[in-house]
């Protein structure tokens, strides 16, 4: 793969060498064939030429033999015949020779001319037909025609004797030229063959070299392939390429197998890879993002910053029939080709352990914070108060559990359930924050948020309460922790030799919290509320000591709620007070006294007072009243709205008020004891609650 350039060159070279080899061989063969043909023709001609060279002397001898036979009156017929065939042979061969190319032209010309002279002389001899002798009984002699024949033969003999050497010489020249030509052709052929053999050898060497080189290249490519495979098998990231159809390429790293629990990645689309593992919305976002990667607006950094798959929660089969949550990190790198984005390289890492670790760290930190927070709160509060809080909180949670278990079907039943839960939790939150146990108060606040969310729903089922149950369990566990720590703290405090002043250590008093603790709790809550809400007010408490123990718990709950309401709703901010010409800080006055019919509690703040109109508006806004109903209410009735469940005049929700459960809880508690509650106000000047409680059956208390 990495060698593809060099490899391609080598292949090209091999092909070129092959073609060259074939061309050279072809050329050698064609030229060689032509040369060989030429040589063969030349050799034939040369033979003819050599044969021709013999004719002049043969003709000359035959003429002499013919003349001698005529002298001795011998039979001449066969000699005549031989001469005739010689002449014909010469004529035939010479004609063939004349048509050959590349002969010595001068010699050829001379030979032609000479033979031209021969022809008429010989023709006269050969044209003789008849008997040259006239026979008598005793003697034979030349006949008349014989004498003419003799004269022709004699002349021809002389002519031949004179010219045979010349003709032979010319023919020898022709023959020599022919020989030279043949020799040259043979020599050319030899050179050609030598050259051909050399070329073949060279090309063979080149081919062998290339073959070796190619082998080496192939080995290198194979090695590279092996290395790639090793990398893909070993790397801990899931690596693959996506093509423009969002399909995974044929090459992918082994780590993917364990990440996705499959091994058929090649050709799989990205969507198929993630489907069933992430929620549909996440998948949708992921696909949109992948699509954007192919666009021209996708800069690497930009895409990295909006990568929705940087920490992807996937649910996987764990192989035992269950599901398992993993966290995968997808990184995308675009691979550019000549025509824009060619592939997108995806690198997937399993970051489950680091995510879980980070979460654990965070939780541990939170825990440490809340523990510290709790410790601080507990160090600042009386262990007895803490104990009584924990008791009442546990009782409260039991009550909450009881409410949760109540069967409910209709919306009204569910709503009632919610309202009950809200009241319980709200008073628990009030107590917790009075004791500065912010970790508990926050947990309860969170539960209240969940309740508020449920309240907003138009339809409710039992399942909607499940998350609430989980949260409650958590709260219970937390409370147990607090209790354990309380025990540890109190054992610390009890140690006689602990140096004085290091830990504030109120002496252990009676088992039940008395009026003194209540006073301390309320003062501490007042200071905290003043600080939290930026209000300046003092709390004056009188007569709490007269409170019978049976009322003490309820009284505490009520006073905490009312104090919070006064701090949040009643007492104005400093600048408002100054503008209203009120002197200095606010005053909250609490008086508990015995009266004829039992007891009376007065709770008064010199704050903004209550506005009947504002209360009515709020009630309408909260759908507690219709507008017509509200219009018909007189001021007294309007003020009484404050005791209706779910009522609050503040829009935003804070830890201390605004849930609309405050006075509701108080009123219920008072009614629970058989008491009554009333409110009076002067807008801009004060709000006053009066609670009347019946006398306690002293014997029962004792």
């Amino acid at each position: 793969m990495l060698l593809s350039g060099a490899d391609r060159n080598r292949r090209l070279l091999t092909a070129a060498a092959g073609i060259l080899l074939a061309a050279v061989m072809g050329l050698v063969l064609i030229v060689g064939f032509r040369l060989a043909t030429q040589i063969r023709a030349s050799v034939g001609t040369l033979q003819q030429a050599s044969e021709l060279e013999a004719y002049p002397s043969a003709i000359s001898e035959q003429l002499t033999a013919l003349r001698q036979r005529l002298d001795t009156l011998e039979y001449t017929g066969h000699v005549h015949g031989e001469l005739d065939s010689s002449v014909r042979g010469f004529n035939r061969d010479f004609t063939v020779l004349e048509h050959q190319k590349g002969l010595d032209p001068a010699a050829m010309h001379a030979a032609t001319a000479l033979w031209g002279n021969y022809t008429p002389v010989l023709a006269k001899v050969l044209s003789y037909h008849g008997e040259p002798y006239s026979d008598t009984a005793t003697n034979s002699s030349l006949s008349r025609s014989g004498r003419v024949y003799y004269a022709h033969v004699r002349r021809a003999e002389l002519f031949a004797q004179a010219n045979a050497a010349a003709l032979h010489g010319e023919l020898a020249l022709v023959s020599a030229s022919l020989q030279a030509r043949t020799a040259a052709a043979a020599s050319r052929l030899r050179w050609l063959l030598s050259g051909g053999v050399l070329a073949v050898l060279l090309l063979g060497l080149a081919a062998a070299y290339l073959q070796v080189a190619r082998g080496r290249g192939e080995r290198a490519a194979r090695d590279a392939q092996d290395q790639t495979r090793d990398i893909l098998a070993t790397v801990r990231e899931g690596l693959f390429l996506l093509d423009a159809d969002y399909r995974i390429g044929a090459v992918w790293s082994q780590a993917l197998t364990s990440m996705f629990g499959r091994s058929d990645f090649a050709g799989l689309t990205f969507e198929e890879l993630l489907r069933d593992k992430v929620p549909p919305e996440t998948l949708n976002t992921a696909m949109k993002f992948i699509k954007l990667l192919w666009g021209e607006r996708a800069h690497e950094n930009l895409m990295k910053s909006i990568n929705p798959l940087g920490q992807l929660e996937v649910s996987m089969d764990n192989g035992r029939g269950g599901k398992e949550t993993r966290y995968l990190q997808f990184d995308f790198h675009r691979v550019m080709g000549p025509k824009g984005v060619k592939h997108v390289l995806c690198a997937v890492g399993d970051i489950t352990s680091s995510v879980l670790l980070a979460r654990e760290l965070h939780e541990a930190q939170e825990n440490a914070h809340s523990q510290l927070d709790m410790m601080v709160g507990m160090l600042h509060s009386d262990p007895l108060q803490l104990g009584s809080f924990l008791d009442s909180a546990s009782a409260g949670l039991k009550h909450v559990n009881a409410i949760l278990k109540e069967p409910a079907r209709t919306h009204a039943e569910f709503s009632k359930k919610l309202a009950g839960l809200a009241r319980e939790l709200h008073s628990m939150k009030g107590e917790a924050s009075a004791l500065n146990l912010m970790s508990i108060a926050q947990r309860v606040h969170h539960l209240e948020d969940m309740l508020a969310e449920l309240k907003g729903r138009s339809e409710l089922t039992g399942n909607d309460f499940l998350p609430l149950v989980l949260k409650l369990d958590e709260l219970l566990a937390h409370l147990r922790g607090v209790r354990e720590m309380t025990l540890k703290l109190s054992s610390l405090r009890e140690q006689p030799d602990s140096p004085e002043g290091t830990i504030s250590a109120p002496a252990l008093r009676s088992a039940t919290a008395g009026p003194e603790e209540l006073t301390a709790t309320l003062q501490s809550l007042a200071r905290k509320l003043a600080q939290d809400h930026g209000k300046d007010f003092t709390l004056a408490l009188t007569g709490l000591a007269q409170c019978p123990p049976a009322y003490l718990g309820t009284l505490k709950d009520c006073l905490i709620q009312m104090l919070r309401n006064a701090a949040v709703h009643g007492i104005e901010a400093d600048e408002v007070r100054r503008a209203g010409a009120k002197n200095g800080g606010g005053q909250v006055r609490v008086e508990f006294r015995r009266v004829e019919s039992g007891y009376e509690l007065t709770f008064e703040d010199d704050g903004a007072g209550l506005s009947p109109e504002a209360l009515k508006e709020a009630a309408v806004r909260k759908n507690l009243l219709s507008e017509e109903q509200a219009a018909q209410l007189d001021n007294r009735a309007a003020l009484a709205l404050i005791f209706k469940p779910g009522f609050s005049t503040r829009n935003e929700v804070s830890m201390d008020a605004g849930r609309g459960a405050g006075m509701d809880v108080v009123a219920r508690a008072v009614y629970g004891l058989g008491g009554r509650i009333g409110v009076s106000t002067n807008p801009g000047r004060y709000t006053r609650f009066k609670i009347a409680l019946p006398a306690v059956d002293e014997t029962a208390v004792a």
Binding site: E281, T282, T285, K288, F289, K291, L292, R297, H299, L302, S305, I306, N307, P308, G310
Partner: protein, 130 residues
């Protein structure tokens, strides 16, 4: 602007700032350090932004995502339809990557996370300007 056109090198880039927070709008306006960038308008919501875009024909828009009346995503959609060549830099506290991808798909060109430094802002603008 005429001189800039005469020199033929760079044209003034017209910037429209869209964010519901007055403080953020002013911050962007003051922090950008480009001589050839002219703020042609600021809008507090999507509807205002579209109106201003029609009037001022901006080249570059910085866009908040969570705004009253018309949010950034819808505004980007309509803005791209109105002026396809406009470049949009989303400046938002992007807790949710899906929203970012959505904005990008609708036609945004860049992202800047709130809170941002002056340098980050200028780099993000520069990337979209040139």
């Amino acid at each position: 602007m005429d001189t800039a056109q005469d020199t033929g090198t760079r044209r003034t880039v017209k910037l429209l700032i869209v964010d519901d927070s007055n403080i953020v709008r002013r911050r962007i306006e003051r922090s950008q350090q480009f001589d050839d960038l002219e703020v042609v308008g600021t809008a507090a919501n999507g509807i205002e932004a579209l109106e201003l875009a029609r009037r001022t024909d901006p080249d570059l828009v910085t866009m908040d995502l969570t705004m009253p009346q018309m949010d950034g995503i819808e505004c980007i959609t309509q803005l791209v339809r109105l002026k396809p060549e406009v470049r949009i830099l989303v400046i938002s506290a992007l807790a949710d990557k899906a929203t970012a991808v959505e904005a990008m798909e609708r036609g945004a060109n860049g992202f800047l996370n709130k809170p941002f430094t002056d340098r980050q802002l200028n780099e993000a603008i520069a990337e979209l300007m040139y």
